[in-house]
Symmetry: C2
Subunit: 378 residues, 2 copies
């Protein structure tokens, strides 16, 4: 019969982090609960949606938590409801006490709220990941790789493997992350500081976006553990598990070519705002494309949606070289690509109106490359 | 063939205000457009959803507008689309030019965007309001009356008259505003500074909420004009028209009684947070009520939702007098009522468990009174 007292704000923060794994509309009703396990060392909170699972610990040695454990035990509580109730409590501390089996009394100030819970035996077990040597990663670097690639993954389930980001470590230190939805591709390469065992995994893009939200920037490093169908990212207090996607990721290297016929260097921000205007008009029509004309060293964008209107726009460029070219594409892909670029200038290289074009930061063409497939127009 | 140049930010602000009257999902397609009329004096923008209409003027004499009119004329443009396009333009100024009939060219920086419009003859006419002597109202006072009453109006169309707020001016200076959805009532009375013609109108609550958003706090005064089925609120640049509700508003005076058996003075904030906790639990069950027990000078709140849990809460009170009482009600009504109260303390007066109870600011029981009907429980 659990009994503990805790600082409400600290408890709430841990509950909110854990809730990120919990979907209230889960097909498996038990996954809408949060698992609360109280031991003599601390409290362990677990949430899961079947794809990702988050385990959060609050230690008795953490001073800010103000945690005082009188009796250990474990229980499941409806996650959203429980978190709303805790956040409504009036006092800075709360006591949590199991008064009957699966019945919890929360006291705070002059409030007493009783909630019904469930037996933890009903909760599915999270498969353990036991890898001997974890990979050590800088949290900020991992989060920036995710921001640079995950948006390019597919959101459609017709080819499930494309909904993930392909992470490959080779030579024990060369990391490559790549995502493609078959219309565009984004690839980041980097050399790890510490060497590690080689791996080749496909992590669901949605899991990676949650991961970025769960680990705040003040957590410097993460340990990464691999198993056959799961991966675990772990900080001192948070363990984030996600399933891996099964299957062979397509070979994206064959999409990249070293040769090109036309090269333009743009200011990232001005190209992006020109594309945003183009998108407003192109989006109103079925075809939804913008036409980029590179002629005699000038670049202009054109959209014609007969029902709605037209865009004609001269775009400032820093440099143009190579052949003249007219190419059409969906401006959304270019907007997304430019959002992912941190550099002020972007180098765009074209082969022909029917071949994919590439984008790289103008100051570093080696490690971050994106690719967009044009649309054939008549 | 219209032609003018204008400061983009100033134009956008006026467009956003006008758009508040425009619903993109209107059953009458022409009402999704904005009417732009350009005269030698300035620009007039009109939006309407059939219930409310907003007319916004930008004068050539307004320096911040940077308005330069070359050719007058008028046109209709799809409101949301046009506003998105204007806000996407790159430069601080834009030129607006009708290049063919119903075809507009917007130029800003190196951008040229062409949009298709429609003939203004298709736009419905706003019925004019010609009253001789307007009522002069302080904008802040009007907005606070709206905040204090409009939430209590019904949102259900089964009794349309109850979806409005009843405004009555008597003795040329005594203003009373009252709203009720038949479960609760909120009434504000005040004496106007300037005398005016008596009136008795029912204004849709939804129109009043828009009105509060349209007139910013830096507009000190509004002129109010009445006609048989419409009312016009006017500032220097904005005219806000709304239809009135037809029919007889029920007599709400008979609901108020001078006698009471029990009186409690609460701190507004602590009563409200106790009710918010009660609501969390009560909301999970069908009945959805909280039981307030006033016994021997102590007040406590109780909710029991067998499926979910219970609340028991002692509530701090400043003063209790009269008979003991146990009364049940929907806590949402009390939460709404307390949100509308600006005073730190609230006086609640009860007659019996089956009669409505009243809330007044503890420091002013005359001018603002709310009433909540209890729920009979067994």
């Amino acid at each position: 019969m659990i009994q503990f007292a805790i600082n409400k704000a600290y408890f709430l923060q841990a509950l909110h982090t854990t809730r990120r794994a919990i979907s209230s509309k889960n097909a498996i009703p038990i996954l809408s609960t949060i698992k609360i396990e109280v031991t003599s060392d601390g409290i362990y909170l677990t949430g899961s949606n079947g794809q990702i699972s988050i385990e959060n610990s609050i230690s008795v040695s953490e001073e800010n938590a103000g945690l005082l454990i009188t009796q250990p035990g474990s229980i499941l509580l409806e996650a959203n409801f429980f978190i709303n109730v805790v956040s409504s409590l009036p006092d800075v501390t709360l006591t949590f006490e199991e008064i009957e089996q699966y019945q919890v009394l929360l006291k705070s100030g002059k409030s007493e709220i009783t909630l019904k819970g469930k037996d933890v035996e009903q909760y599915p077990r999270i498969q353990e990941v036991d890898s001997l040597t974890p990979l050590l990663m800088d949290t900020k670097v991992l989060k920036s790789i995710i921001a640079e690639t995950s948006f390019a993954a597919s959101t459609q389930e017709s080819r499930p493997i494309l909904t993930g980001v392909h992470f490959v470590l080779s030579n024990h230190k060369d990391l490559k992350a790549v995502a493609t939805d078959s219309h565009r591709m984004s690839q980041r390469q980097l050399v790890l500081e510490h060497s590690a065992d080689n791996f080749d995994v496909v992590i669901p893009s949605r899991s990676l976006k949650e991961l970025s939200a769960v680990f705040s920037d003040d957590i410097e490093n993460l340990e990464v553990f691999f198993s056959a169908n799961q991966i675990l990212f772990r900080s001192e207090t948070i363990s984030f598990y996600t399933r891996l996607l099964e299957g062979n990721y397509p070979d994206t290297n064959r999409l990249l070519s070293d040769s090109f016929e036309t090269e333009v260097v743009f200011e990232t921000a001005s190209l992006r705002s020109a594309m945003e205007r183009s998108y407003l008009i192109s989006n109103a029509s079925q075809s939804g494309t913008v036409k980029l004309e590179i002629i005699n060293g000038s670049v202009s964008a054109h959209v014609n949606s007969p029902e709605v209107g037209k865009v004609n726009e001269d775009i400032d460029v820093q440099d143009v070289s190579g052949s003249d070219l007219v190419i059409s594409f969906n401006p959304t892909y270019l907007i997304d690509a430019l959002k992912a670029l941190k550099s002020e200038t972007v180098r765009v290289r074209f082969i022909s109106p029917v071949r994919p074009f590439t984008l790289t930061p103008a100051d570093d063409s080696e490690n971050f490359i994106q690719l967009i497939t044009p649309v054939r127009t008549n």
